[in-house]
């Protein structure tokens, strides 16, 4: 039990609905930030993995949640590592300007959940967690920064249905 808690990583999905297509000049400042910010993520303390499209530098061309919805799927060692990257790095500048590029979401647009270390979440699994959060509110299965759960809490709740396959 203790070992499984220590071997947990935090998965993160967020979705963002573009106000304009990615090749529109109005989105250019965001597109210019993609490479430097992704490079910063790759080198950030506690970074484990991020989804990229095969043969591409990022996941912006994958549109599993809608034609104009870009997704960001990552795994981190701890919530603190993810928080520091999201809000205490060059990524904050992209967040600050989010209203210039993305629609305001009425529903949750970010979901966090624990995965066994080494497990790389699939897009389907990630969208399920977002749907879970939207339908049932924060729980150890799917939560947010403001309503966070520890890996131990998640392990306790998820023991019987813990996903085992990578």
């Amino acid at each position: 039990m203790t070992a499984s808690v220590h071997a947990a990583h935090l998965a993160q999905l967020n979705v963002a609905t573009l106000l304009h297509p990615l090749d529109d000049p109005r989105i250019a400042p965001f597109v210019e930030m993609l490479d430097p910010v992704n490079t910063a993520a790759d080198g950030a303390p506690g970074f484990v993995w991020r989804l990229v499209e095969e043969g591409a530098a990022d996941a912006t061309a994958l549109r599993p949640a809608g034609e104009d919805v870009i997704i960001n799927l990552t795994v981190w060692e701890t919530p603190e590592a993810l928080w520091d990257f999201a809000y205490r790095s060059g990524h904050l500048e992209a967040m600050r300007r989010r209203r210039e590029w993305f629609q305001r979401h009425v529903e949750a647009h970010l979901v966090l959940w624990w995965v066994p270390a080494g497990h790389l979440p699939t897009v389907g699994e990630a969208l399920e967690r977002l749907a879970d959060l939207r339908a049932h509110g924060p729980s150890p299965r799917a939560f947010t920064f403001a309503s966070s759960y520890t890996a131990a809490e998640a392990a306790q709740h998820l023991q019987p249905v813990r996903p085992g396959k990578p």
């Binding site: 520091d84 999201a86 809000y87 205490r88 790095s89 060059g90 904050l92 500048e93 967040m95 600050r96 989010r98 209203r99 305001r104 403001a146």
Partner: protein
């Protein structure tokens, strides 16, 4: 300890000097160093530093300052840093924090970033109280210190040593960073909204077309904004 008791612990002038010195360093401070800075003996400094720790204003730890370990390395030295907890007293009781959190939550949900930033920029301009933009990094340091940001100059390694050069060129070799976020509690809960507000406030305060400018450059544990000479290249 109640906030009012913790704050009352600072009434002693020696204690207050020690507290302010430790806070201003932004790192662990040993007893000898603090005693010297406050102009008192080591024993008296140690007594007051421990009182400040008891009051919850400082945190103490121990560190071997020599870097050696094992037998013969000597006793670890006691070191002090500012405690993370916030202390506030309002008479009569006021609760602006709950108001700020609720307003921020509503602004976040409604997507009011642009309106908030416009208000913050106007407020910054009003606080500046002069038509002229901030004249340089020295003035920026004073303005930011007055607003509780705890600014300090940090030399930028990438720029050649300009020490001793005249003010105008010397400024390019340094940026102002801030140890304290005056909006910490709400900024932690709604970072893009509140950090954006903070940047707009500082842009208004310093002026946007003057010799210095504010720009976002967030780092862990510090204010998200950096102030630099406008001549510094944008990268």
């Amino acid at each position: 300890m109640e906030d009012i008791d913790a704050i009352a612990a600072l009434q002693d002038p020696v204690r207050r000097r020690l507290y302010e010195y430790v806070v201003a360093q932004g790192r662990e401070v040993g007893r000898n160093e603090a005693a010297e800075a406050a102009g008192v003996g080591r024993t008296l400094a140690a007594h007051h530093l421990d009182k400040l720790t008891e009051a919850g204003l400082l945190e103490s730890g121990s560190r071997r300052l020599t870097g050696r370990s094992g037998p013969g390395a000597g006793r670890p030295a006691k070191v002090y840093t500012r405690a993370r907890a916030e202390r506030a007293v309002s008479l009569p009781a006021r609760d602006y924090r709950t108001a700020a959190e609720l307003l921020a939550e509503a602004a976040e949900q409604a997507g009011l970033d642009a309106g908030l930033c416009a208000a913050a920029r106007r407020r910054g301009e009003a606080l500046r109280g002069s038509a002229a933009p901030c004249s340089g990094l020295e003035e920026a340091l004073a303005m930011l210190a007055a607003r509780g940001y705890e600014p300090h100059l940090e030399s930028t390694a990438s720029i050649q040593d300009a020490e001793g050069a005249k003010e105008t060129t010397g400024e390019a070799a340094a940026v102002v960073r801030m140890r304290n976020c005056p909006f910490h509690a709400v900024a932690e809960r709604f970072p893009p909204l509140v950090c954006g507000m903070n940047l707009a406030l500082l842009e208004g305060l310093l002026g946007t077309d003057g010799p210095v400018r504010a720009r976002m450059d967030a780092r862990p544990g510090a204010c998200c904004v950096v102030v630099e000479s406008s001549k510094t290249n944008i990268h």
